[in-house]
Structures are given as C-alpha cells and as structure tokens.
Subunit: 325 residues, 2 copies
Amino acid sequence: MSKIAVGIDIGATYTKYGLIDPKGKVILSDKIETSQDPDIDIYLQNIHKAITDAFDSQSDAVELIGIGIGAPNANYYKGNIENAPNLVWKGIVPFVELMKNYFDVPILLTNDANAAAIGEMTYGAAEGMDDFVVITMGTGLGSGIVSNGEVVYGYTGFAGEIGHTTVNYNGRYCGCGRRGCLETYVSATGIKRTVYKLVADFLDDSELRGISFDNLSTKMITTAAQRGDKIAIEAFKYTGRILGIKLCETIVHTNPEAIFLSGGLSKAGELIFEPVRTHLEAQVMPRFKGRTKILPSGLEGQYAAILGAASLIWNRNIKENSVDD
Amino acid sequence: MSKIAVGIDIGATYTKYGLIDPKGKVILSDKIETSQDPDIDIYLQNIHKAITDAFDSQSDAVELIGIGIGAPNANYYKGNIENAPNLVWKGIVPFVELMKNYFDVPILLTNDANAAAIGEMTYGAAEGMDDFVVITMGTGLGSGIVSNGEVVYGYTGFAGEIGHTTVNYNGRYCGCGRRGCLETYVSATGIKRTVYKLVADFLDDSELRGISFDNLSTKMITTAAQRGDKIAIEAFKYTGRILGIKLCETIVHTNPEAIFLSGGLSKAGELIFEPVRTHLEAQVMPRFKGRTKILPSGLEGQYAAILGAASLIWNRNIKENSVDD
C-alpha cells in the first residue's frame, strides 16, 4: 500500500489540492472553488468530498498519512487561520480542529510562504541547505525563513513577514494599516502601483497607458517589457532595486545561503532577478558581498503550493524516522 | 572533583576571563591586557598563564571541561577571528586552532553578542524562551538571534548583524564602509554623535558643550540627562526612537518573545527603554502590537560577557547529556 500525503493550498478564489507520494510526485491534482459562504462547514464538506473522491479514483491501494495545508494568515502553533482579509471566514478560525471532524489523520497548517520554504527544502532547490529564505511574490509579499534547518515560526507563529519591513515611512498605504511596506512595492499589486506612478511621472509612450489598473496584470507588464516598453522595463528595475536593497536587511539578520524568489513576479526572469542582484550586491554589508545566491524556486510552478503544503507532512515524517536527528 | 568551564571575553583593550561552575556561579574572575603585539603567540602565552594560575589558586579539586570565547568578528563554524578592526591581529586568525596548542579541552568561539544570547538563555532572563534577540550596545551594536531554541549563525557564521541594518541611506558614515547603519546611531559611539548633532542644531544650554568628543562617555550623557540636561535627554529620545523603529524590522523577521537590551547604553534605564518601547509599539505591524517584551539583560553586568562565553561550553554539555534532545 503506497503512502500518500495530501497538500492543500487555500487561496481567496480557488483551493488547490493534490495527492503527493513520499518522493514528491504529484499523483493527482485538482482545484475547487474556495466557498464564499461565511458558513465554513459548507467549505469543509466540499474539500472532504473532493479528497475522498480523489482517493476513491485511485486504482492502486493508497493510504492517507496526513494533510498539510497552506493558507493566508495561518498560525502554525494553533492551527488557526486568523483574520485573513482575503477569505470570507472572519475572525479566528480553528481550521485544523474543524478539519479533524472530517479526517482522522495528522493535519498541519502553516502560511503559504512557510509551506513554500518547506517544499523548497524537501523537493526543490534548497535540498541540503540549512539557512535560506523563500520570498513569494503574489498579491502580497510573503516569506519563509529557514535557519539551522528549521522554519522560523517565532513566538506567536507569525515570523517571516518580510513584506512588512518598511521601505519608506511616508510611502504607499498598505493593507496592514501602515505605510511604505515592502509589499506595497514588491508584489503583483506593487508593480502595478509602480506602473501607475511611472505613467504619472514620465512622458514615454507605453502600451500600458491603455490599460486600467483593475485590468493590469504582472503578465501584461512582463510581456510589454519583453517587447521593449520603457515604462514596463523601468517598473521592473524600480521593483528589483527596492527588493535588492531591502533584502540586505534580511541578510544581516539570518545570513542565508540563498534567497529564492517565487510567485508571479519571479516569472519575469532576468527582468526582475538582474536588478535584485545588482542592487543587493551594491548595498550589502561588505562581509556578505558575493555570499548570498538569488535563485528561482526549484519547484514546478503549477505544483509549488500543494507540494509545499504536502511537505509539511513528509518533512515531519522524515524527521520522526530519522536516526541521527 | 568540580567541573569548571572557562569564559573568555576578548576586547580591544582588556581580556576578561572567569572560572564558571555548571550553575553559572563565577568562582573567580580577572582580566589581562589584550596584547598589542601583532605576534599573537605572546597573547596566547599570557592568557594560558593567567588561566593556569587561576586553576592552581583553587583549594578544591577542579577539572577544566572546556573554554568558551567571545570575540569581535568571530566565526563560530571555523573558530576564526576574521579581520577584526579593533584588534591588533590582522587578517584571518585561526584562534581556536592556536588555543588548542595550549589547552587540550573543547574550545568554542563566537562573537560577543551570540555569547550574550547563549548566556541569557542559560543563566539569565531568557531561560525557557525559544525565540528572542539580544542587542548589545557598546562601541558598536551587536546582536544575537535565537530561534527554535538555537542561536542563528547563518550560512557563513555571521548572522545577527542588526547593527548594520540601514536607518538612512545618506546618513552617518559607518566603519563597515557604508552609510546610515543602525550602530552609527544606536551605540555608545552613536549617542555621542547624536549629542554633537544636537549641540550643532539647537541653542539650549548643556553641560555637554564643555566636553570634547574624545572625552565624552555614555555615562556622562546619562548623568547629565538625569540632572535634567535638555540636550542629553533629547539624545536618549533620539537614540531610543531610532532603535524602537528599527526593531520592528527584526520583529517581522523572527517574531521574538523578547528583545533584551544590554551593554553600556542600556544602563541608562528608562531614559532609553521608554522611547524604544513607545516608538516600537507605534510603528510595529498591528499583528505584533503588545507581543514583544523589551527587557534588560538578566545577567549581572560585570560578569555578563564571561558568563556568556562560558555558557557556550555549558549549553553544549546540557544538550549532549539531554535524553530527549
């Protein structure tokens, strides 16, 4: 009987899930809509049915050994989703406890970026690294910090909020209620704000002048930059410069071997990696010059989130079965 | 036979050393001058003689079980002191290797702030805490970060350089070769620079106007502030405000339970603690408001450095003898 872990990635619109074997092979993956009903029981019934059906569809005998979940505003210690602004379930949701009414296996919950970090360590490009950081650039900027081979969760379970270091104390308004946070500049939303700022500041022609803020996407900005659009190219330079400079603060804190950039914005490749590396190396404390690799994620983009979530289970299992740990 | 660890704290002028028992009791402590001779063998002979004499002076039978050393620019992994600007031995000094010619016991070396963090965890106010940060404010600003109960050394062994986060990219020149580092504002030297800035900017009478930069000390500024000197009071407010605001960056990285302030500047008590707490709470991301204690060190000031150094040995021993580690 093969052992299978389930990885679930809860997003505002969709919940992705997958059946993952011990080697990180995705046996099956699919998605359901994240219920927009404030009654969370409806959602729990849906995800329970989806996973049960997925197991029933397997021709080989398989055993569910645990469920790992990545979700916004997740508290690893308590198994709660706490005050997630983009989810319909308000307040503090004891998500793991509720899931246990449906599944009698170990269930672990953490935020998406920590799940990405564990995924990177278990199946990705951080294999064998004890000290690294994963930056996820989606709607916001998330981060997962690994030191001494362990995810840094911190005292209240919310470590790794690098998106809320401050770039400019009088800068852009942030969803957290403050101003000038890194994620207001470096994220899918951040680069859109930068395009709008640049269109406001400069006279250059740009295909992006014809697109509304609501319709603008990272992909459009990337395509425009690849076609030579000056505003789009400058938006990547601006974004990469800010990220490169601010990552110097992360480096002096935990001195990682590598910083992985993942999420939509990282798909722009050298458009974003080049200015990050250049400005990081120019700004970083001399002792750290040339000592931190800036790398793309080693996880297949479409599966990164569910692999990360499932690795919460596999990583835990590896440790429990390890002789010399 | 009682087991004894030696703690050594290497400073630019003096080397303090002490014989410490497993409970953190200082059996004997003394200091020698840190040799100003570039030939390090002279220094090694001196410290060897001092420690041997200290052991010979004990009436009870004692066994040396290890030597822990705190030093500037120390690389924990390699046992090196690397390019320490304030020590006479230049380049990369394989300090542990050299000490092993004199002592046949385990020898561990780390930087002063990491030693302070281990000391705080072993004998001080961080007992039982898994996630905390120690800030040492002396000539510079050092820091030791503990996450998941372990010191964060990082990939190259130089994690915890919070003194080199940036307050102002066009700010004060720093010994590291860059500008605006936190330690150019928040340290014994930093507050002196702030007094000079304030004397330059304001018209208020101040007893500090009569003192040259070279003669000015943290203690003088503290005494003046306690007497109501406006420039001195403002210097502490300025220093505490900057530290409070910048510690928010540390909190979003590792989410510590407490941040301990130690070293000369912390002796000013509420003069520095009050503005740190006020500005930290005003600036920190809402999720962390009221969740981080700002505390003085729990180690006796005069012994803090040698206790921290000795705890490198005791902490290691505790772990090796632990059943469930």
